[in-house]
Structures are given as structure tokens and as C-alpha cells.
């Protein structure tokens, strides 16, 4: 019997496998940031241990950082303290830090791939659930808790039980205006927010294969939103082309050797999965969410489900969700006025996302009552956007380009959505209060978010795209 892609990578990283114990899994690169690392560094100090492999540890400041006037000291005292702590900890333990002002600074899941640190066949962890993003390269990438951050710092290993394997295939041609974000919101709406729990999910099929690396990262990023341990996509020419020439990518002979290995990374034809799901790309509309978890999504033209149709034990929670969102049974969201649009987060803040939005908003302008935040994923994305003149397009449209960070995805910095306001967001979570206490989040693709900004309401992007317009 053949092997799955996941098992090939896992087996290549097992240090020790002992009956009755989780495997000791070797970690190639550990990404850290200011929020989930301070207690871990503290733990090392208490144990009198160093960071075992500081050169395999990469740090950035992203969760707390302001997205305006980043050259000034951080105003909010606790945020500043946490970022300062990261700086001190990295200096003390010999870890390279891409902090504020560094040309490589940015959201941890954006900088790993763009610097060529994330590669096929590797193992990556970070104290952040969206570490699943890196699986887009054909890698195993887990979000971990702070005790495990300490564990990886101390040992360069992670104690883990092998998850079950699921394959999700998407085949067929996408409709105009439908992209990677719509695919993953659609999948999660079908699997529910818990449907992937206990699984490593491999995405396959010709629709997935046709996606760019940015699109694949969007898909894998949200694997955690169905509860999956990680998501991954077998590497191919698209992957290899993307990694080639990046700052820390292998060079010369090392490159040739690496590519030869990467070409062995696929699930064998006779590999067995514990679960297989198949979807048709043609069935996927532009998606939006109406509730308070990412599984509560619908095609933009569909209606909010009726409470009576929900599982009896879940009806109360369901009704609470709709009440929180200010929505009711069977409501159509098309035409619903919105207040904020956030384009950013580790799901959709890459250069391709910004290019797509810029192409659509060129010659258009945001609605007067809408506030728009465009937050690039990294300093490099910001600079690339400026070099391509996207900042000018955004400015003319009333979409100022801000500075990189996690921003309004979770509102740890100043970028919070006020109570009761609706935000169409390209981020990954619509949990209660996620973007600010009592804020209301509607998850969508960058194009659907841009359409909402321009019209001031929830809009079917397909209606705005002119005949032959290439966007999407």
C-alpha cells in the first residue's frame, strides 16, 4: 500500500516512535512572535535551558503592532512592553528577530513563505493556529500552545500523535469572481467548524492544482477553521517556481538536490485516507458568512438558514449567533449595508490579493459611509505594492494602504471594529468580539470585500464584473 504525502513527511521527521507514547517529531523551523512566546522564554530561564537551535528559530512582531506610523514608538503600553520583551528575549537567546523597522518584518505566516524559509517537505510550528498556512508548500505545519513553544525551543522537537488523514478534492472550473477564499469558506460550510478535528487534510484535485501559491496558502490557512490539525498540498512546478530564488531558498547544488526530493512528495495512487470528500468547483458561489464561526457560511445569493432546520441541541447557540449578528432566519444579505471593510490578515494580505483588489477598484471609489483598511501582510508586500503603484490606486479609491501586521483580524492593536458595526473582512474568523467587543464580522474574499466597500453593502461581485473583466 502506498503512502500519503503527510506520512512521507512525518516519517522523515520522526526522531523516536515508541508504543504508548506520542512520536518525537523533529521541527525544521520554529516561528515565534510576541504574544505566545514570553511565557515560553520565561520557562527556559526557569529550567536553565538555552534555545537549542536558535538558527532554526525565526521571530517577528506582528500581532500587536500599529499599522500607521510604525516608525514611532508603540503608543499602547502593554503592546509596546510585549514587543520589547520579544526583542530582549531574542537578543538573550540568540534568535534572529525581524522586528518593527526590519525589511523582513510582517505577519509570521506571510514572511516564512516569501523569504523562502517555508519549503516543501519541511516541518514548521508556531504558537499561532494559522501555521497551517505553510502546508501550502507540501509541508507539515502545526499551530501550537505556549508550553509547546517552550518545548520546541528547548528540544527542536514536538511530541505529537500522528493525526488521521483526510483528502479533500475539488475539481472543475471556478465561476468568474470566485477564488481560493470562496473555495475554503465553501468547504468549511460543508464540513462545519469541527469537521476536520483530528485530521491532517490534503487538498487535491484540478481546481486546487490550478491555484497560485497565494491561493493555496489561503486554503491551507483556514484548515484550522474546520478544526484540522494541518492542511497541505503536494508540491508541483507552481511551488518550485515560487520558492526559487527567494532569500533563504537553497541555491546551486543544494537547490537541485532539494528539487529532486520535493518531486517525490505526493500521495501515492494507492495511498489510503481515513476520509475522502469531493466537491465541484462549479457549485461554489462567492461566499460570505452570516454567523459567529467560520462554518456558518453561504453563497452570497443564498439566505440565512432557518433556526428550526438546525440540530435541536444546537438551536439555542444558533439563535444566539444570529442575535449577535443582528440577523434573522431566512434573511438575504444581498444589499445589507456595511460599515467597515478590512483587507488583510494571514489569509488574504499577500501581493496577489492586493493586486486583485487594486485591479477591481481602479476607477471606482468606496461608498462614503464605509471605512476601508488595507493592511499588507509584510513590509515586502507593502514595498512591492508601492513599487507597482497599487498604493496610488488604493488612495484614489479611498482605500489607504497601511503598514503590515495582524491588525483588525483580532484587534490586538488600535485597529478595532466598533460595537454593533458590520465589517466585511478577508480575515479567517468571525467569532464574537474577534475584531473588537461586539463587532460583527462577515468573512469574504478580497473581491467580495472590495465590492462591499465600493457599493457600501453586501454585493454579488459577479454582477459588478464587466464582461471579460479578468479579475478573479
Amino acid at each position: 500500500m502506498g503512502n500519503t504525502l503527510f506520512d512521507k513527511i512525518w516519517d522523515a521527521h520522526v526522531v523516536s516512535s515508541k508504543e504508548g507514547f506520542p512520536d518525537i517529531l523533529y521541527i525544521d523551523t520554529h516561528f515565534i512572535h510576541e504574544v505566545t512566546s514570553p511565557q515560553a522564554f520565561d520557562g527556559l530561564r526557569k529550567r536553565g535551558l538555552p534555545v537549542l537551535r536558535p538558527k532554526q528559530t525565526v521571530a517577528t512582531a506582528d500581532h500587536n503592532v500599529p499599522t500607521w506610523d510604525q516608525h514611532l514608538p508603540i503608543k499602547e503600553e502593554l503592546s509596546r512592553y510585549q514587543v520589547d520583551m520579544l526583542t530582549k528575549n531574542c537578543a538573550e537567546f540568540g534568535v534572529e528577530l525581524y522586528g518593527l523597522g526590519h525589511p523582513y518584518q510582517g505577519i509570521v505566516h506571510v514572511i516564512g513563505p516569501e523569504l523562502g524559509i517555508t519549503r516543501p517537505g519541511g516541518t514548521y510550528v508556531c504558537g499561532d493556529s494559522h501555521t497551517s498556512t505553510h502546508g501550502a508548500f507540501g509541508a507539515i505545519a502545526f499551530g501550537i500552545g505556549t508550553s509547546q513553544v517552550e518545548q520546541v525551543m528547548a528540544t527542536q522537537c514536538l511530541l505529537q500523535s500522528r493525526p488521521k488523514r483526510m483528502k479533500i478534492e475539488v475539481n472543475g472550473k471556478l465561476q468568474k469572481g470566485v477564488g481560493a477564499k470562496d473555495i475554503i469558506l465553501y468547504i468549511i460550510s460543508k464540513t462545519t467548524a469541527a469537521g476536520g478535528t483530528g485530521y491532517a487534510v490534503e487538498y487535491a484535485g484540478d481546481t486546487i492544482r490550478s491555484l497560485s501559491m497565494e491561493g493555496r496558502m489561503t486554503i491551507c490557512n483556514m484548515s484550522i477553521e474546520m478544526g484540522a490539525r494541518c492542511g497541505l498540498i503536494a508540491p508541483d512546478d507552481t511551488t518550485i517556481e515560487y520558492v526559487k530564488g527567494r532569500e533563504f531558498a537553497p541555491k546551486g547544488e543544494d537547490w537541485d538536490k532539494a528539487v529532486a526530493y520535493w518531486k517525490t512528495l505526493y500521495s501515492d495512487d494507492d495511498a489510503q485516507f481515513d476520509s475522502v470528500l469531493t466537491f465541484n468547483a462549479e457549485d461554489i458561489e462567492p461566499m460570505i458568512t452570516y454567523g459567529t464561526n467560520p462554518g456558518m457560511g453561504i453563497g452570497v445569493t443564498q439566505h440565512v438558514p432557518v433556526t428550526a432546520d438546525v440540530e435541536p441541541t444546537e438551536q439555542k447557540s444558533y439563535a444566539n449567533s444570529l442575535a449577535y449578528m443582528g440577523l434573522h432566519d431566512d434573511e438575504s444579505l444581498i444589499g445589507k449595508p456595511i460599515d467597515y471593510v478590512f483587507i488583510g490578515s494571514c489569509t488574504n494580505s499577500r501581493i496577489e490579493d492586493l493586486r486583485q483588489v487594486a485591479e477591481f477598484v481602479k476607477g471606482r471609489h468606496k461608498a462614503d459611509h464605509v471605512t476601508v483598511w488595507v493592511v499588507p501582510g509584510s513590509k515586502q508586500v507593502q514595498e512591492q505594492a508601492i513599487a507597482e503603484g497599487l498604493d496610488k490606486v488604493f488612495e484614489a479609491a479611498g482605500f489607504p494602504l497601511r503598514e503590515p501586521g495582524c491588525s483588525a483580524c483580532l484587534g490586538m492593536n488600535e485597529d478595532k471594529i466598533p460595537a454593533g458595526k458590520y465589517c466585511v473582512s478577508t480575515s479567517n474568523r468571525n467569532f464574537e468580539g474577534r475584531q473588537g467587543p461586539n463587532s460583527r464580522t462577515i468573512l469574504a474574499s478580497p473581491l467580495t470585500a472590495a465590492a462591499a466597500a465600493v457599493t457600501g453593502k453586501i454585493t454579488d461581485i459577479r454582477e459588478l464584473l464587466a464582461e471579460g473583466e479578468l479579475v478573479g
Binding site: 505566545t36 512592553y81 493525526p163 469541527a194 483580532l410 467569532f431 474577534r434
Partner: protein, 196 residues
């Protein structure tokens, strides 16, 4: 470094019958700015417990003096969302020793086990029985025997076995942790690195 040693709990319980409770509800992101593990209990379920003026919301169960105890009983898919371990710290710091649900998110479950907070996964039917019992008798006691892997409703004698990873169970009972275990295998790690 040893962690909390853990074998048996008998306590009253707090019912929270909501599905998909994510870690942003358990501890909102804006309270993640501390650099130590302490004090998160004050902000446990912050936005469900307090209004915008920091006044307790009377209809939330933690503000209801009827219910208290070391066991939180919650709807399925508890702990989904962010990997923040602060959620487990907040529950422990508030005074919970165990969370009972019919389903746990993976990362939360791991975080809880690493912090001496026992996630006890029961069937949907048994969960419903616990809720029923708590609503008919607020003083109903829940017993959790980690060694036997059994959860019991004291009043009725209803009980159910629960699963726990054998290694994690040994860690909790003996008070040792993953770092101790991997460090005891350090030679294997170095051997692995040398072969690559």
C-alpha cells in the same frame, strides 16, 4: 519541571450549554498582552461575563451564585479557534480543574493537558444527562477519576468511561511534562540531526 499532580476530582459543576465555544470567547485577544501565565482568570469569558462598563451581566452563568465548582460542563467543540494557551490558563486560574464536553478542539485539548486542566470528552447522551442533572439539582456533584478514566454523576450513579492518551495520563498523575520526556531522549535528537 513538574506540573500539577492530578488524580481525582469531586465537585459541583457549572453548566455552559453552548456549542463551538472558541478561545476568543474564553479569553479575548485584547487580554493576551501579559507576559506571565498568571491573572487570566479575571478575564475568563470576559465579554459574556461583563458589559462594556465592566458590570457583571446577570444572565451569564459565572455571575449566577447558584452554580460554582471546579468542573465546567460545556457544549460540543469546546476550545476551537486560536491556539492561545491563555485560554487554558484562564480556566485554571479561575478555578476549574476539568472541562467536560462532547467534543474538544485539538490544540485546546493539548494545551489543557499541558497545564493540569483535564478535558473530559463524553458522549452527547451523557453530556445531556449532566446538563439535566445540574438543572434539576444545582448541588449535583460530578466525580472524575483519572486513574480509572471514569466520570460519574454522584446523585444518580450514572457513569461513563472516557479516553485519554496513556502517556498524557501518566504525565498528569506523576506530574512530569513533555520537555522532561524529550530531554531524556536528547541523544536520539542529536543522532537524528547528524544523519540529515
Amino acid at each position: 519541571m513538574s506540573t500539577k499532580i492530578f488524580k481525582h476530582i469531586q465537585s459541583t459543576a457549572v453548566p455552559l450549554p453552548i456549542e463551538n465555544i472558541d478561545t476568543d470567547q474564553i479569553i479575548p485577544a485584547r487580554f493576551l498582552k501579559a507576559t506571565t501565565r498568571d491573572g487570566f482568570g479575571n478575564n475568563l469569558f470576559r465579554d459574556w461575563r461583563f458589559d462594556e462598563n465592566d458590570h457583571p451581566k446577570q444572565d451569564f452563568v459565572l455571575n449566577n451564585p447558584t452554580y460554582s465548582g471546579k468542573v465546567l460542563v460545556a457544549g460540543k467543540n469546546f476550545g476551537c479557534g486560536s491556539s492561545r494557551e491563555h485560554a487554558a490558563w484562564a480556566l485554571s486560574d479561575y478555578g476549574f480543574d476539568a472541562v467536560v464536553s462532547s467534543f474538544f478542539a485539538d490544540i485546546f485539548k493539548g494545551n489543557a493537558l499541558n497545564n493540569g486542566l483535564l478535558p473530559v470528552q463524553v458522549s452527547d447522551e451523557f453530556l445531556a444527562k449532566i446538563f439535566d442533572e445540574l438543572y434539576s439539582d444545582k448541588d449535583a456533584q460530578i466525580e472524575i477519576d483519572l486513574e480509572q478514566q471514569v466520570i460519574r454523576i454522584s446523585n444518580t450513579g450514572d457513569e461513563e468511561a472516557f479516553e485519554i492518551n496513556a502517556y498524557k495520563k501518566a504525565c498528569l498523575i506523576n506530574g512530569y511534562d513533555d520537555i522532561d520526556y524529550i530531554l531524556s531522549n536528547k541523544a536520539l535528537v542529536e543522532e537524528f540531526e547528524a544523519k540529515r
